[in-house]
Symmetry: C2
Subunit: 190 residues, 2 copies
C-alpha cells in the first residue's frame, strides 16, 4: 500500500524533492485514510509546484523535466507504437488470423503514436541511455524528413486498414516498414 | 549504420530468431546498399513470419509476444501519459505559463494514452520487472473500476481543457490526480 503523499508515486522522481522541501510530507506508517479530499488537494498543490521547480534548459526540450525523461519518453512511445504495429505485421504475414477491426484499431493507435517521439530529440538528449546517432542533430532537416516520411506512411497504413482490404494493408505495411528501416539505418546506432 | 536485415532492429528481439531460422539473413560487413526494394521486401516477409512464430499463451495477453513485453508496454504507456499530464500540472500550479492550446493538446494525448495500459495486465504478467500487486488479479472488478474511473476523469480533463477555462482545468486535474492515487494505493507496490 502507498501511504500519505506517496501519491507522489505518480511522479516518482518528485518524491524526494517534496520530502526535502516539506518534511511533514514524508509518508507516515499506519493505514492510510480513505482518500481524504483536503489532504489530497494539499498534496496535489505541493506536487504541481514541485513539478514546475524542475527546470531544463534548451527551448526544444523545455517540455521535459530533464534530458533522461526525453530519452525515456521517445523510447517508450516508439515501443508502444511498435507493439501495435507488430500486430498488423502478424496479420499481414498470414500467421495471425486477419480481423479487419483489430487491424484498423491497431493501425490507428500506431499512427497516433507515430506523432509523439520526435518532439523528444531536443538539445542535450544526445547523451545517455540512447542509440541515437549524432547525425540526428547534425542533419536535422534530413532527420525531420525521415520522421515525416514514416508518419505519412503510417497514416496511409491507417487509411488502408480502415478499408478492411488485406492486400492494401499489406502494401502499406511494407512501405511503412521501409520508412522505419531507412530512419534506423541513418539515425540509430546498434 | 545498421546493415542488411539489421532492419530487424525495428523489432530487436526478433533478430536472433531470424538469424537462427535463416542463416543468410545474418548481417554482412561492408556498406549497405541504399535500401534495395526487393531485399527490403524479403526481409519484411521474414520479419512478419518471425513475429507470428512467437507465441504467448494466455488469451487475455495473446496480443503480446511475451509477458515481459506486456509489462514494458503498460509501463511505457503510463510514462508517456504521465509526461503529458505533468505539463498540465505545471500550468495548473501557475509555475508554467497557461497556454490553452498546450493544455488542450496535452490533455487530449493523456486521455488517449489512458486507454492503452490496461489491456496489458493479462495472465502471467504479475511477475517480473513490475510493481503490480497481486490484488490486480485477485480483485479484477475493483481494478477495472479503478482504471475506468481514471479514464473517465481524464476524459473530463480533456473536455475541460478544450474549453480553455483554467479554473475548470484545475478542478478536473485535481479529480484526475485523485483517481491516479486511488489506483496506485490499492494496486501498485512501492
Amino acid at each position: 500500500m502507498l501511504k500519505g503523499v506517496e501519491m507522489l508515486g505518480i511522479f516518482p522522481e518528485m518524491g524526494d524533492i517534496v520530502r526535502t522541501l516539506i518534511p511533514e510530507a514524508a509518508p507516515k506508517s499506519g493505514n492510510p485514510p480513505v482518500y481524504p479530499q483536503r489532504k489530497n488537494m494539499k498534496a496535489i498543490s505541493i506536487l504541481v509546484v514541485a513539478a514546475a521547480t524542475i527546470g531544463f534548459s534548451g527551448a526544444a526540450s523545455a517540455q521535459f523535466a530533464k534530458p533522461e525523461d526525453a530519452i525515456k519518453y521517445r523510447k517508450n512511445a516508439l515501443f508502444v507504437m511498435q507493439q501495435h504495429y507488430a500486430r498488423i505485421g502478424a496479420m499481414v504475414s498470414g500467421r495471425a488470423p486477419f480481423d479487419a477491426k483489430v487491424a484498423a484499431d491497431n493501425a490507428a493507435i500506431a499512427e497516433s503514436m507515430s506523432r509523439l517521439p520526435f518532439a523528444a530529440f531536443g538539445e542535450g538528449t544526445d547523451k545517455g541511455d540512447t542509440k541515437a546517432l549524432p547525425e540526428i542533430w547534425k542533419e536535422q532537416a534530413k532527420f525531420k524528413a525521415a520522421a515525416e516520411k514514416m508518419q505519412g506512411e503510417m497514416s496511409k497504413l491507417a487509411a488502408a486498414a480502415k478499408t478492411g482490404n488485406l492486400d492494401s494493408i499489406k502494401m502499406a505495411f511494407q512501405s511503412t516498414s521501409g520508412s522505419c528501416k531507412a530512419c534506423h539505418d541513418d539515425f540509430r546506432g546498434k
